[in-house]
């Protein structure tokens, strides 16, 4: 066996490493298979080369788009690769420059402020007037006086808190619409693959539902259909597999033991089926939640074949039942138009989960049973948190499980007091992408 590494070996190993970087597990034996396959099929036809590599290195349909993009980028012309490299270096440089600029601007008594990269990036995106206001604040407080004595650097943590508070305010105000993520990889081929994938369907799985643009909806709806079909067949399989042992089944026992000449060696038991769950969905109708509600409804109704019924309610200030409207095939927009006045009440008060839960327990108590999986879709921003938590605890005792799909990213949960109040009574999940939703339902519905 030759000890020198051929060009082909080198490329294969490098390509496998690229796939690994995107989460595709490639073992040494698979690289060997790929090598043998290429020797067999030849390198003349790029299409065949791609087919051989896909057949040997990829083993999951979900990974195919990643593979295709990686193949395209890795085996692209040197000119294209050079252009990607320059592009990603330029982006990285711009990002660094932006951060560097904030270091110059955000200072207290000539010292750097202790801020995260994300906070700095957010600052860089603020309107110029707001930036100026923050800079002036820092300037003034740097030369400020307290009880006639000039302030010293001991005040820096306090100043940092004020700056952070202000940035936090702006993040909410901007509705997190500004992408404040660092540029992907600094490597040209890597960032090209990441960017291409972002443009493809797969990205929808990790994209905030609220940010999916209207022209992408048909694609997303198709994706939801595929996801729910797959999930439904998984779930129905688990219900079949999940049989608790019942009493001894004499007939099957005798039959199974015929082979031992009638001596009872093995016992057979009756199986006990676990009933299908019933979904009760409670969706937040506040403005920022509408988009999520629409997608989650699509998703959950895609599972209707494996549950024994879905009851849907929406809440704002009060509670509205949507089950009939959905059954009659009304469009989401019309439904919301009709439901909004009722849910929001006459006074235009804020979102109040406590009221909704109270009404639900009073008027819809029959839907809350041991078979019920109670799903709440809300960002947990509600009035009367304590009262709502008490009702939630009460409902918890009646149902199989409460799943809270929280559209607020989990890193921000500490900022919302209600999350702390509700979490002991439910399983709370971060849920603002289709990926989250698929993962949660497939984990919980077994």
């Amino acid at each position: 066996m030759s000890t020198t590494i051929s060009e082909l070996d080198k490329h294969l190993v490098e390509f496998a490493q690229l796939l690994r970087d995107f989460g595709i597990r490639v073992s040494a034996s698979e690289i060997l298979d790929a090598m043998q396959g290429l020797t067999l099929v030849g390198l003349e036809d790029k299409h065949h080369v791609e087919a051989v590599l896909e057949a040997t290195l990829v083993k999951d349909p979900n990974q195919i788009p990643w593979f295709q993009e990686a193949f395209r980028a890795y085996f692209a012309s040197p000119e294209a690769q050079k252009a990607w490299q320059e592009h990603s270096e330029k982006q990285a440089a711009q990002w660094q420059e932006k951060l560097g600029q904030t270091r110059k601007e955000l200072r207290f008594q000539e010292r750097d402020l202790d801020l995260t990269e994300e906070e700095r990036a957010l600052y860089a995106q603020l309107p110029e007037a707001e930036k100026e206001r923050l800079r002036q604040f820092l300037e003034r407080s740097s030369h400020g006086m307290k009880s006639g004595i000039p302030v010293d650097h001991a005040f820096q943590p306090m100043v940092e808190r004020v700056v952070r508070g202000s940035l936090e305010y702006w993040r909410r105000k901007l509705g997190e619409d500004f992408p404040i993520l660092p540029p992907g990889s600094f490597d040209g081929v890597h960032s090209e693959v990441e960017e291409a994938i972002r443009r493809r369907e797969l990205e929808f799985l990790s994209q905030d539902l609220k940010k999916i643009s209207p022209e992408d909806w048909p694609e997303v709806v198709k994706l939801i259909r595929r996801l729910t079909q797959r999930l439904a067949s998984q779930i129905s399989r688990r219900y079949r597999a999940d049989r608790r042992r019942g009493g001894l089944d004499m007939r099957h026992t005798l039959r199974a033991n015929m082979r031992y000449g009638g001596t009872l060696v093995e016992r057979r038991y009756r199986s006990r089926h676990m009933g299908r769950p019933k979904f009760v969905l409670l969706c937040d109708l506040s403005g920022s939640m509408l988009k999520y509600t629409e997608f989650v409804l699509q998703f959950v109704y895609g599972l209707s074949s494996v549950v024994s019924g879905i009851e849907t309610y929406a809440f704002g200030e009060g509670l509205v039942r949507l089950t009939e409207k959905i059954r009659s095939g009304q469009s989401f927009q019309d439904m919301v138009q009709e439901a909004l006045p009722a849910a929001r009440g006459e006074w235009g008060g804020g979102t109040n989960l406590a009221n909704a839960l109270e009404t639900l327990m009073r008027e819809g108590a029959q839907v809350l049973s041991r078979r019920t999986v109670f799903i709440i879709l809300s960002d947990s921003q509600t009035l009367e948190g304590e009262r709502a938590a008490r009702y939630l605890a009460n409902i918890r005792r009646r149902v199989r499980e409460i799943l809270w799909l929280n559209t607020l990213p989990s890193r921000r949960w500490t900022e919302v007091h209600a999350v702390e109040l509700f979490s002991p009574h439910c399983r709370m999940y971060e849920c603002y992408t289709l990926g989250h939703l698929t993962h949660i339902l497939s984990e919980r519905l077994g």
């Binding site: 073992s27 396959g37 051989v52 896909e54 057949a55 999951d60 788009p65 067949s233 082979r259």
Partner: protein, 312 residues
């Protein structure tokens, strides 16, 4: 027997056996690879796109016996691999109570080979189809490792049995359950999607030669719209497309029209829920209208595969 074929010859042989492939679907090259490398082929994809058919056609191409193991939940080695013939063993015990040795009872004579063992013990090469592997439990999958990796099985009472002739192994999965890494690593992988319009026309023309080309194209386009644009629980399979085409032919149709779509819809859409979805979301008239405006070449085999990418 499988040794001396080139890829081109293999492609021709597939076509000769009535299995239509396209360059884009990569079926031919991947199957060729699995056969030549002597590795099991794992085929995934939605139901009704011709996964099982691959094994059947391989048995035809290589003139090898097709041995099929249909998987289901709870399948175990006594059904899949081997079972001892208890009745015969009992009889033997009764007859030779005194002089019997244990190894007399555990010999090939008392072995009932099930499909997997049958494929290994076959003197001629066979095609072993392990259909819907995702329906079995994870333990059964682990139990297959020895067979798929080394083409041998170990029977505790008898020792290891090596394959006399390595079978061509085809596993299929509808993706109901994630398969283990161990299994996937041992296989060559092929993902099959529903055929493109052009490919389905070719399939129709091959399987139903009397069907006029014009009608074949209309049928293929309508099926494509049904699969892609309506939220059906079960999209029509290739077999159902063929049934539909045959029915239309039988009734002397030369063109599709809404009334005939309505009349024959149940050949394609087979649950009440899906029929409702069809009429709610589309209906026969719109289906034909959309099919008419569909560009045959535009509907690609693998979604996103022809995705053109322009980067500055």
């Amino acid at each position: 027997m499988t040794g001396r074929m080139t890829l081109e010859e293999f492609e021709q042989a597939l076509e000769g056996a009535g299995y239509i492939t396209e360059r884009e679907d990569r079926i031919a090259v991947t199957v060729f690879l699995a056969v030549q490398l002597g590795k099991p082929l794992l085929v995934t994809g939605p139901p009704g796109v011709g996964k099982t058919e691959i094994a059947k056609v391989l048995s035809q191409v290589f003139k090898a016996e097709l041995i099929r193991l249909q998987c289901y939940e709870g399948l175990d080695e006594t059904r899949a691999m081997y079972e001892w013939n208890y009745q015969r063993q009992l009889l033997k015990i009764q007859m030779q109570r005194e002089s019997l040795k244990e190894e007399d009872l555990f010999s090939e004579e008392y072995l009932l080979p099930r499909p997997l063992l049958k494929a290994l013990m076959n003197k001629e090469q066979s095609v072993l189809l392990i259909d819907e592997i995702d329906k079995t439990d994870a333990e059964f999958e682990a139990f297959l490792f020895e067979l798929l990796g080394e083409f041998q099985v170990t029977i505790p009472e008898m020792g290891t049995i090596q394959a006399m002739q390595r079978p061509i192994v085809v596993l299929t999965s509808n993706g109901e359950r994630e398969l283990s890494d161990g299994l996937k690593r041992r296989c060559v992988f092929l993902h099959v999607e529903a055929p493109s319009v052009a490919k389905e026309v070719r399939i129709l023309r091959t399987k139903v030669p009397e069907l006029p080309e014009r009608l074949a194209l209309q049928v293929a386009k309508a099926i494509h719209i049904l699969r892609e644009r309506i939220a059906l629980h079960k999209a029509p399979s290739i077999a159902e497309t063929l049934d539909w085409a045959k029915a239309l032919l039988l009734m002397g149709r030369e063109d599709l029209d809404p009334a005939w779509v309505d009349a024959t819809l149940t050949l394609l859409v087979k649950s009440e829920e899906d029929v409702e979805a069809f009429y709610r979301e589309m209906g026969a008239e719109k289906l034909l209208w959309e099919a008419k405006s569909l560009n045959a070449q535009g509907a690609s085999m693998r979604e996103g595969h022809h995705h053109e990418h322009h980067h500055q």
